[in-house]
């Protein structure tokens, strides 16, 4: 039994400490916005925030995040209107969409840390998030839009 704080609520989960957070969130908490793409920390589809910072949930165990604030895509903004989400919509960014919750979580954490990044900084910060559909051009533009409003 684990007690995790997810999106501002304390939840009790039937999950052992060694279980990757990804599977605890998806299978036990039943929140499926966080995606499995590789399980080895190389695609970013599983990105969540731990105490506000983007982390790969497939690389963290339940034990490691107990007592920390976990934010998933479902909790990024109560109305789903985070400026990064809005920018994604304005630019019609997704193709299949599967990578996009991870991309958005990565971008939101990055911009919180660096509100006005250079293009190279954006490209670098987003390089751990694979988009097999190849939406990078719009992803980068959307991060820029969320950052500067244009």
């Amino acid at each position: 039994m684990a007690l995790l704080n997810i999106n501002g609520s304390d939840v009790e989960l039937q999950a052992e400490d060694a279980m990757p957070l990804l599977w605890a969130v998806r299978d036990i908490a039943g929140m499926t916005g966080t995606k499995y793409g590789c399980g080895v920390g190389l695609c970013g589809a599983c990105t969540v925030h731990i105490d506000g910072v983007a982390e790969r949930s497939c690389q963290l165990t339940v034990g490691e995040v107990t007592g920390k604030a976990i934010t998933t895509i479902e909790g990024l903004d109560p109305d789903g209107e985070h400026r990064v989400q809005q920018a994604w919509r304005e630019l019609n960014v997704p193709q299949c969409g599967f990578c996009q919750s991870g991309q958005i979580m990565q971008a939101a954490s990055f911009l919180a840390e660096k509100p006005d990044p250079s293009d190279d900084e954006i490209l670098d910060a987003m390089s751990g998030n694979v988009c097999r559909c190849g939406c990078y051009q719009r992803i980068v533009a959307a991060v820029r839009l969320a950052s500067t409003g244009s």
């Binding site: 499926t32 019609n92 299949c96 670098d124 694979v130 097999r132 190849g134 533009a141």
Partner: protein, 767 residues
């Protein structure tokens, strides 16, 4: 408004369709559409024949199947094609909505279950969704608009020709107004008008079609995490399964010990699934399945299995020697598929000849979403939830594997986290059904990324040899192209080692250059793994070979690349396949040649558009170069101009222009997004994607050894040029044809940047 157009300023050609337009503008000024005004004029748009009628279950045009209207005015449209990222679930309903004069904000899209007798063909593959269904979408929308008008006219006791339908409302001449919701029941009870009784909208009255201002259907859900993909469906009592499959196709477990696996907390049971060997169509590979309460337990359980595998007949498959054999075969005469003029004489009489061989390794699709499917098998029947490109063949495949009537199988289609051809094959769904029956509970089968990389249906490996005969003036008088690659057919029937007409039609026998003497032949290569189709299929190696060869030939003859291409393409002409010696069973992507001819002028046009767009010919610093390639596939014409810059010994692409002629551009915004995606996938396969085999097993496993282009090295500044056409110029394919010209354009650019010529895919990131 959608900002994408402002972000992708396109200049240079003047022939670009997409323009800066505000969504609000359309909604605000929605032109009232008077049926009456058109009633006595030519109204129905001229229809044309497509290959759709030859597809299983064809096309359905019955509005009562695709459209329903609620009393609150909500218009519900059925999307019967799968959404894997191309926008089919947006674009086809958008066309219906526009022709119907529905307000897109009040349209709801629902996904059809797998039922082709009802909806028509649902196999979302071959870049066919718009090409085959655009006419039906307009017909459906137009018919419903008429039915709404007729219902309102009835209500008012006026002539239907005097009412107008605009933006979700019907108005009478005297100013009465009824909303679509007010007319819901009455309209849908009206007789469905025939095509030639419908006054369709003129193109300048389109509000959504051709504009590219519509948000994709699932945009909000995707950005909030609410979108549902294959692994996101749960039902009461569901278990999760992860399967250890034979490392070699056709292999099996000689023995296994599940003791430790069964001791993993959460693991429920272990089952052996029946094995298969090629040709097994889409039957699962078999293996040892671990069923558990959650995915982590299932994965842990699988890791704890002790299995002794027998490799089976393909245990000797090793990529390196196999590639050498294919290259050798490519240098020998193969089965002749196209013979035009007298190529042997042309080579005998040539002032000189020139030839090169190009290869490509196998590729796996690695869609972002690894395969996952949920099946619930009960006495009442079988219900499936799965991300499948072809829900109806999924249904019939599962029925066959389970020995039940397809009537007892229901297939619900989730969103697909990418497909690229992999999710046409329902092996992973059948696994779930088999296990659900074994376990007596609903089962979700989850493939790990390693499973996906190691147990796919692979893009074939190939060797393509091209030789030309040249006269004194350097004019090409003869062309020979031997294509050697294991065939997709080996997945379906005993393998002859020869390719079949569909593969030959993809850039091999339809080589469009103006050369008098041509031979296209096919050397033998046996399949030792499951060969499937991957976005653009055989066009990838053919465009790679031909496109690279044109660049090499230009260098060999000291000619400018663009001029070399234009010389080979020749004067604009519509190719006569008989005169040019095409095989009798030539496959034009299933489309009739008279409606979808091969027009060389369109090839030259897109080539020039891409070249002009990138500023071909401009001076570049040392270590930079521009390369070109153009290819017709899926009855579309796409050219790529790539700018390569070598940075710290790595290939980078600071700018790329893709020019596409896909007939009428129904949704330019999604066409642009497909071209951006094709640029990235093209660069990925150019630099990274190589699946290799050792002793029959795939050597790669995950992103650590099968990587893709990422945001720190992808084609930056991809500019899309779309050739503008009226609706009457048939819409063709978009999802696939962007990919083939990218790799050869990069290789040609790399040659100009460094003087180095790459002939084998993947070519690697480092120069």
């Amino acid at each position: 408004m959608l900002k994408y157009l402002e972000e992708t300023q396109v200049t240079g050609t003047g022939s670009l369709l997409v323009q800066k337009l505000s969504r609000r503008m359309f909604l605000g000024t929605g032109t009232a559409f008077a049926i009456g005004a058109f009633a006595t004029q030519a109204q129905a748009f001229p229809t044309w024949a497509t290959g759709a009628t030859a597809m299983p279950n064809g096309v359905r045009e019955d509005p009562l199947i695709f459209v329903s209207i609620d009393e609150d005015g909500t218009v519900t449209l059925v999307a019967h094609r799968s959404e894997m990222g191309t926008g089919a679930r947006t674009s086809l309903p958008m066309i219906m909505a526009d022709e119907m004069e529905a307000d897109w904000e009040r349209v709801k899209i629902i996904q059809a279950e797998g039922d082709e007798p009802k909806y028509g063909n649902q196999d979302t593959d071959g870049s066919r969704s718009l090409r085959h269904h655009i006419q039906a979408a307009r017909k459906i929308g137009g018919a419903v608009r008429h039915m709404l008008a007729a219902a309102a006219a009835d209500r008012w006791g006026v002539d239907a020709a005097t009412v107008t339908v605009a933006n979700h409302e019907v108005k009478s001449a005297s100013g009465d107004v009824l909303g679509f919701g007010d007319l819901a029941e009455a309209a849908m009870a009206m007789p469905v008008p025939a095509h030639d009784e419908v006054a369709y909208k003129s193109e300048d009255a389109f509000r959504y079609i051709g504009k590219g201002q519509v948000q994709i259907t699932d945009l909000r859900d995707i950005t909030t995490g609410d979108a549902i993909y294959g692994a996101d469906v749960s039902v009461e009592g569901m278990k999760i399964a992860v399967i250890a499959r034979p490392p070699v196709v056709g292999g099996r477990a000689l023995s296994f010990d599940a003791t430790d696996a069964l001791n993993v907390p959460g693991v429920i049971s272990v089952h052996e699934l029946p094995y298969s060997n090629i040709p097994a169509k889409f039957a699962p590979l078999g293996g040892i399945a671990v069923v558990a309460e959650n995915t982590y337990a299932a994965i842990q359980g699988r890791e704890s299995l002790i299995i002794e595998w027998e490799a089976g007949p393909h245990g000797g498959y090793n990529s390196e020697p196999f590639m050498e054999e294919m290259k050798a075969a490519a240098g020998q005469p193969g089965v002749v598929l196209r013979e035009q003029g007298d190529p042997d004489a042309a080579f005998a009489d040539a002032a000189r000849t020139f030839g090169q061989t190009y290869t490509q390794a196998h590729m796996a699709h690695i869609a972002m979403e690894p395969p996952a499917a949920l099946a619930s098998v009960t006495d009442q029947g079988i219900e499936i939830w799965a991300p499948v490109q072809s829900p109806y063949t999924t249904r019939t495949d599962v029925a066959e594997a389970m020995g039940v009537d397809p009537a007892n199988v229901k297939v619900n289609v989730t969103l697909l986290g990418g497909g690229f051809g992999r999710k046409s094959k329902a092996d992973f769904v059948t696994e779930a059904a088999l296990l659900s029956r074994e376990v007596g509970a609903p089962v979700r089968v989850q493939w790990t990324r390693e499973d996906d990389v190691r147990h796919s249906f692979y893009h074939t490996a190939s060797a393509e040899r091209i030789e030309v005969a040249l006269d004194e003036d350097g004019k090409v008088t003869g062309w020979k192209h031997n294509s050697v690659a294991p065939s997709i057919l080996s997945t379906f029937a005993p393998d002859s080692g020869q390719q079949f007409f569909i593969e030959s039609g993809m850039g091999h026998v339809d080589m469009p250059f103006d050369i008098p003497n041509v031979r296209c032949h096919n050397g033998k290569a046996m399949a030792h793994t499951r060969i499937g189709w991957f976005r653009a299929v055989s066009n990838v190696p053919r465009a790679w070979a031909i496109g690279s060869f044109v660049g090499e030939l230009a260098a060999e003859l000291g000619r400018d690349d663009r001029q070399m291409w234009l010389d080979l393409i020749g004067a604009p002409r519509s190719i006569d396949p008989v005169a040019e010696g095409y095989p009798e069973n030539f496959w034009n992507y299933g489309e009739p040649m008279d409606e979808f001819p091969i027009e060389t002028g369109r090839l030259a046009d897109v080539l020039n558009m891409a070249a002009d767009g990138i500023g071909y010919g401009k001076n570049l610093p040392e270590g930079e170069g521009i390369g070109l390639a153009v290819h017709r596939s899926f009855v579309s014409y796409v050219a790529c101009a790539a700018h390569v810059k070598v940075v710290d010994g790595n290939v980078t692409v600071p700018e790329m222009h893709l020019a596409i002629d896909c007939g009428y551009a129904a949704n330019p915004e999604r066409i642009e997004s497909q071209m951006q995606g094709a640029a990235v996938m093209g660069m990925t396969l150019a630099l990274h994607s190589g699946i290799t085999y050792r002793d029959g097993a795939v050597e790669q496993g995950n992103y650590y050894d099968y990587d893709v282009s990422r945001s720190d090295n992808y084609p930056r500044n991809v500019v899309t040029h779309i050739v503008p056409h009226p609706f009457s110029v048939h819409s063709t394919g978009v999802g696939e044809p962007g990919v083939p010209p990218v790799a050869p354009a990069i290789a040609n650019a790399l040659f100009h940047a460094t003087g180095k010529r790459k002939r084998d895919l993947p070519m690697g990131v480092e120069v």
